[in-house]
Structures are given as structure tokens and as C-alpha cells.
């Protein structure tokens, strides 16, 4: 395994006084694709937000290093500038801020600014790839977007910002079959030696497109088991019961 771009060890985090992450250990090597699965409420989104630095999530123990930096003391914007990206499960609407202005501000902040013409060309190309209508450029970010449109807009941002690691939090939920393919193709096009992915999902379908190197299962705030792509298929067939049963037995 090559060098880990993300290394989480013993991560504890709580929200509003309630401990949700209870010692997460997880490593993602440079350029790899990992899947994170687990039942509802197991803490997947909490992990994603905690990694991104949401102020509501309090880290109470453990460490996270990202691309050689200690991630935890940094604010969200600094983490993003290091090359961490989160595709939100529920992207936030910001009325009044157009998609174009938003992307410009983000690129400028990340020192990835480009000349206006090049920017617009690239935006056009990426929007075509993702089958996003041109009119979305001037629309306010996520304002009145359908669920699927929001997800595609997240991938568009990913494509424009080219991070080192993208966390996709249920980006596949709420997408129709064609949209799922478009989004998966988009992610596949972007990932490679320079960009790894941690994909949070409930469904093996997106994994059939992404071919993850590793699959992890989170349960009650801990990674209880990890395996290859087969693990996702097993979960689809048999549910979490058998895995969590053995995991629970192993910890007991």
C-alpha cells in the first residue's frame, strides 16, 4: 500500500454533548477509492463533517492526518485548501450567490484561479459532461435545485476544484439510474493517482461503477470490519446482521 493521504486513528467526536464517533480507525492511500457503509445513524455523516471541520462536531480524542498535516487544529476553509473536499449529503442553498460567483470565490481561495475565459470554458465542458444545463451558471447555488441537481452540482464543484481526496456522502442517494451513471462516470474521470475518494453509500450500485479498493463498515461510531468489493455485495445480499453479529462477537 502506498502512502496514506488520510489517516484517522482513534477518532472520538460528539455532537451536542452526545458521543457519536467512538474510536474510528481508517486509512486511505493516495489515489485509492474506499467505500464507507453502515446502518442509518452509525455515524458516517458525522465522520464526514468531523473530517471537514464542521464547528458543531467536537473532537474529543484521536488524531487525523491529511497529506502530512495535522488536520484537527485547522478550520474548514484551511482543510479545503489542503485538498480535502466533501460532497454534502444535503447541500446548502445560498440565495443570492450565483454558481459562477461561488466557484470563482472557491477557486480564488484555493489559489486555483484561472483567466476568465479559461474558467468559463472549463465550466462549460464540465457542465456538459455532467449534463447540467447552462442556465445553472447564473442560478443561486442549490437554491430551488432538485435533489439530483444538487448532487450533480456537488460533482461539478469537485471537477472544478480537483481536490486530493473527495468524501462523497451519499451522493448516489436520490439519483435516477441515468443520473447515477453520469455522476459515477464523473467521479471515475476525476479520480486517479492525484485524487482519492471515500464514498459513503448504502447501495452497491455506485460501487459497481467505482470499483473500490476497500470497503469499510461503520457501526456505532467504529469501523467494525473492512474488506474488498465483495463485502458490499455481501451486505446487499445478507444485510448488516451477519457482519455486525460477528463484529459484536469479536469485540466481546
Amino acid at each position: 500500500m502506498s502512502k496514506a493521504v488520510l489517516s484517522i486513528s482513534g477518532l472520538h467526536a460528539s455532537v451536542e454533548g452526545k458521543e457519536i464517533l467512538k474510536g474510528v480507525d481508517l486509512q486511505v492511500a493516495q489515489g485509492e477509492i474506499h467505500a464507507l457503509m453502515g446502518p442509518n445513524g452509525s455515524g458516517k455523516s458525522t465522520l464526514a463533517y468531523t473530517l471537514m471541520g464542521h464547528p458543531k462536531y467536537m473532537v474529543t480524542g484521536g488524531s487525523v492526518s491529511f497529506d502530512g498535516h495535522d488536520l484537527l487544529p485547522l478550520t474548514a476553509d484551511a482543510r479545503a485548501r489542503l485538498g480535502l473536499f466533501l460532497c454534502f449529503q444535503y447541500p446548502t442553498a445560498i440565495p443570492g450567490v450565483s454558481t459562477v460567483n461561488f466557484l470563482r470565490a472557491a477557486l480564488r481561495a484555493q489559489e486555483k484561479e484561472m483567466p476568465a475565459r479559461e474558467f468559463l470554458n472549463r465550466l462549460s465542458t464540465e457542465m456538459k459532461e455532467l449534463k447540467i444545463d447552462e442556465s445553472f451558471r447564473s442560478r443561486y447555488i442549490n437554491d430551488g435545485f432538485s435533489g439530483g441537481e444538487k448532487k450533480r452540482m456537488e460533482i461539478l464543484q469537485l471537477a472544478m476544484l480537483r481536490p486530493k481526496l473527495a468524501i462523497l456522502d451519499e451522493t448516489d442517494s436520490g439519483l435516477d439510474v441515468d443520473a447515477l451513471r453520469t455522476v459515477a462516470d464523473g467521479v471515475m474521470r476525476l479520480c486517479g493517482p492525484d485524487m482519492g475518494v471515500l464514498v459513503i453509500t448504502h447501495y452497491p450500485r455506485i460501487l459497481e461503477h467505482l470499483h473500490p479498493d476497500r470497503v469499510h463498515v461503520l457501526h456505532d461510531g467504529r469501523v467494525v470490519t473492512s474488506g474488498g468489493a465483495d463485502l458490499a455485495r455481501q451486505i446487499e445480499r445478507e444485510g448488516y446482521e451477519p457482519i455486525l453479529g460477528t463484529a459484536a462477537a469479536a469485540t466481546a
Binding site: M52, G53, H54, P55, K56, T75, A76, D77, R79, A80, R81, F85, L86, F88, P91, T92, A93, I94, P95, G96, V97, S98, N101, F102, A105, A106, A109, Q110, Y140, Q157, L161
Partner: protein, 447 residues
């Protein structure tokens, strides 16, 4: 087109000044001025203790009698205002509201169309009937400040667009003020005849800085049958200015008003935005943005008076206040029994950028007709933490994220303004306010 005006008598606002103003006016106006002055003297100063209308706006520190009527034009302020015109509406005629008439710039196109652009003082003599018609919507003695304006205004700007004429270029009206301890009485009167169309930009400015000035302003807009008026106004007084103003529009049948107010400056402002939808099918879209910081105090009062049947009005005022700035808003939709099928909406949205900033909002409906559609909404809140986090998660630093959100909050309004040049000017001024501490007024070298 300019006419000489009588020399201004020196002295603070008082009987002598008022008498001199009346003496210099045509008979009909002189009579009105005398009634107004008597009313001004008889009426008490509005009090936050006694007057419900002024309950949240305290002007006990304002003493109008200590101010001297301005008698000259501040060239530096005018230059700064002209620069804004050049950028936002280069083709617009530029008219200066001054005690001594100034040359009108770039009005050839309008004059060739038969449009009258002149001082209100001249119009009161030469086009008395038109001015009287406009003045008929404002009683000379209807309030302390309206009476004071009626008694003492001079100069002013008057625009008349004849029947069926659509103005080819906008009119940019500059109301400058300068010096310290001066009173100004900014005056705009616009009359659109049947089927006419016009865009107006009405700008108030003084140099930034603490100079104490009193601005008692009047805007009378009369929009004829089937006429369309696009009226945009920006208030950029310096930090020491008291600004009180009435802006009243009367709409005839099927007339359309698009109103945009940008409020940035002054120490304290209290304005009334009033639209009387008298004619059947008349419509008014009223938008406003206001940004305040330091200890600025803003008070906007709006009235959407539905009088004719099938009338429609919509008002949206967005306010952002920072530091210890305060906003007061009172909005009234009044539907007369004659206004069947009226459709009116009023909304005030407030963004509080500091713990010490405050916004009060009281929209009201008074419905005396059947079969109408009316509503109101008011909100106040802080910058949304999720929106901020979303921007930060894309690398945008926290201060810039907040600035983007504030700008976005306002852009929702600016994006609806038909005159794009004005929208851009408003955006630029707003960015400076958001970024720059508590500086208001124009960047003018005081002379």
C-alpha cells in the same frame, strides 16, 4: 436652462428665511409657503414619547433651528456623484439640485423629445399648472418636516414627460450637500403624462465625515395613465447627516412604478415610501436594500395604498445591520373599499451581523374591501451557520464567506432591478460598506 435665483438670506432656519423664500416665489407658491411655515411653527417636533409613528426613532438631539440653509454647491461632492453617473448610466442627463441653478448636462436628447428637465423653482413659474398638479398630492402642513420643506425648499429638480413619449435616456438627479451645520431641502418632482416612460436615478450624497447636516427631502412622482416610471434612489449621506424624507407616488390607470431604494448613509434617516395606487389596474414593485453599521439608525415607513380596483403592489426591503446599527421598519398595505381584487404583498427581511445590531419590523394590513389578496412577512436572523460552513468547506475564509452571504442576501434584490448600471453601482457601494468599517458618504475632497 437656468434662471437666476434671489440671493439666499444668511441665518438659521427661521421666520426671516421663510419670508424671503415666499417673497421670491410666484404667488401660488408664496401662499403655500406661508401656510407651510405657520404649520411648521405650530407643530411640535415629533417625539418618541408622544408620537406612535416615531416611537422607535429618537430625534430629540436634532434642532433644526441650529442649521443654516445651504447657499452654495459643493463641487467636490458633485464631481464624485458625476463619476458614479459616468460609470452607471453614461448616457443619462445629469441635473444638480442646488440653491443656485447649475447647468443641466447631457439633456439635449430629452429636450429634443419635448421632455422638460429643469429646476423645480423655474417650473413653479413657467409650468405652474404641472407643478401644482404634482403638489396636490402633498398637503403643505401635513407634518412638521413636510411643512418645513414646503416653506424652505429652493432649486429642486422638475421633470415632465409629455403624452406618449418614452425617454431615450435616463435622468440622473444629484442632491449634493457640503460643509457643516447646513440644511438642505432636496426636491424631486417627476410628472409622466399618459403613456410616457422614464428612468430616473435620484442620488443624495455628501462627503464622508462627521459634518452635521440636515436633509429634509421631498420626492413627488406622478405617473399618468399607461405610463411607466423606473425610479431608483441612493442615499449616501456622510455619518453626521440627519435625513428625513417623504417619497410619494400617485399612479393613474394602468400606470406602472418600479421603485428601488438604496440606503447606506446618514447618522439617522427616517423616510416614507408611499405609493397611492389610484387608477384601475395600476402596479407598483417596490424594492429596497439598506446596509448600516456603527451607530447608524434607519427608519423606513412604507405605504401601499390600494384605491383603484385590480391594483397590484409588491414590496421587499432587505436590511443588513452591523455593530450597533439599528433598523426600524413599518409597512402598511391599506386597501380601500373601492379596491376590489387588489393584490398586495409587503416583506421585510433583516440580517443581523453583530450581537449589538437590531432590527424591528412591523408590517400591517388594513383591508376594507372584499375579494382581495394581501399578505406580509418579516424575518430577522443572523448569518446562517450552514451557509457559512458550506462556503468554508470550499476553501473560502470565514470573513469572505460572511461577506458573500451578505452580498448574496442583497443580490437577491439587486438582480431584480431593470437598470443594470444602477444595480452594479449599488453592488459596488455595498461591497465597500461590507468590507470597509463604518465609512459612508462619497469619497470627495471637501472644498
Amino acid at each position: 436652462m437656468t434662471i437666476p435665483l434671489a440671493d439666499s438670506p444668511v441665518g438659521t432656519l427661521g421666520q426671516e428665511v421663510a419670508a424671503a423664500r415666499a417673497d421670491a416665489s410666484p404667488a401660488w407658491l408664496a401662499a403655500r409657503r406661508r401656510i407651510a411655515w405657520d404649520a411648521y411653527e405650530a407643530l411640535p417636533m415629533p417625539s418618541s414619547q408622544r408620537d406612535e409613528d416615531w416611537r422607535r426613532t429618537d430625534i430629540s438631539a436634532l434642532h433644526p433651528e441650529r442649521f443654516t440653509p445651504i447657499d452654495r454647491v459643493d463641487a467636490a461632492v458633485v464631481d464624485a456623484m458625476r463619476v458614479q453617473r459616468d460609470a452607471a448610466a453614461p448616457t443619462a442627463a445629469f441635473v444638480i439640485d442646488a440653491p443656485v441653478a447649475q447647468p443641466i448636462e447631457g439633456a439635449d436628447t430629452l429636450h429634443a423629445q419635448g421632455i422638460i428637465v429643469t429646476t423645480l423653482a423655474e417650473a413653479a413659474t413657467v409650468h405652474a399648472e404641472l407643478v401644482q398638479r404634482a403638489f396636490s398630492s402633498v398637503r403643505a402642513d401635513e407634518s412638521k418636516f413636510v411643512a418645513l420643506w414646503n416653506a424652505l425648499w429652493r432649486g429642486g429638480v422638475f421633470v415632465y414627460v409629455p403624452r406618449g413619449v418614452e425617454a431615450l435616456v435616463p435622468v440622473w438627479i444629484a442632491h449634493p450637500a457640503g460643509g457643516d451645520g447646513h440644511a438642505v431641502f432636496p426636491s424631486t418632482v417627476v410628472v409622466l403624462d399618459e403613456g410616457a416612460a422614464l428612468t430616473v436615478i435620484d442620488a443624495y450624497a455628501s462627503a464622508s465625515g462627521p459634518a452635521a447636516l440636515l436633509s429634509d427631502a421631498m420626492v413627488i412622482l406622478s405617473v399618468g395613465r399607461d405610463a411607466r416610471l423606473d425610479y431608483n434612489t441612493v442615499q449616501q449621506w456622510g455619518e453626521g447627516v440627519w435625513h428625513v424624507g417623504l417619497q410619494r407616488t400617485v399612479l393613474d390607470a394602468n400606470a406602472k412604478l418600479r421603485f428601488m431604494g438604496v440606503t447606506l448613509g446618514a447618522r439617522l434617516q427616517k423616510v416614507w415610501w408611499e405609493v397611492l395606487l389610484e387608477g384601475v389596474g395600476s402596479e407598483a414593485d417596490i424594492l429596497g436594500i439598506c446596509f448600516g453599521d456603527g451607530t447608524q439608525h434607519f427608519d423606513h415607513q412604507s405605504l401601499q395604498a390600494h384605491i383603484g380596483p385590480e391594483t397590484r403592489s409588491n414590496l421587499l426591503l432587505k436590511v443588513a445591520v452591523r455593530d450597533r446599527a439599528r433598523s426600524v421598519y413599518g409597512g402598511m398595505i391599506d386597501v380601500a373599499p373601492t379596491a376590489v381584487h387588489a393584490d398586495g404583498y409587503v416583506a421585510n427581511r433583516n440580517l443581523l451581523l453583530s450581537q449589538g445590531a437590531k432590527a424591528d419590523s412591523i408590517p400591517r394590513l388594513e383591508i376594507r374591501a372584499n375579494d382581495v389578496k394581501c399578505g406580509h412577512g418579516a424575518t430577522a436572523g443572523h448569518v446562517d451557520a450552514d451557509q457559512r460552513f458550506y462556503l468554508m468547506a470550499r476553501g473560502v475564509p470565514p470573513e469572505e464567506a460572511s461577506a458573500l452571504i451578505v452580498r448574496g442576501f442583497m443580490d437577491d434584490v439587486l438582480d431584480r432591478i431593470p437598470h443594470r448600471g444602477f444595480a452594479e453601482l449599488a453592488g459596488t457601494l455595498l461591497d465597500a460598506e461590507i468590507a470597509g468599517g463604518s465609512v459612508t458618504g462619497v469619497a470627495a475632497e471637501t472644498s
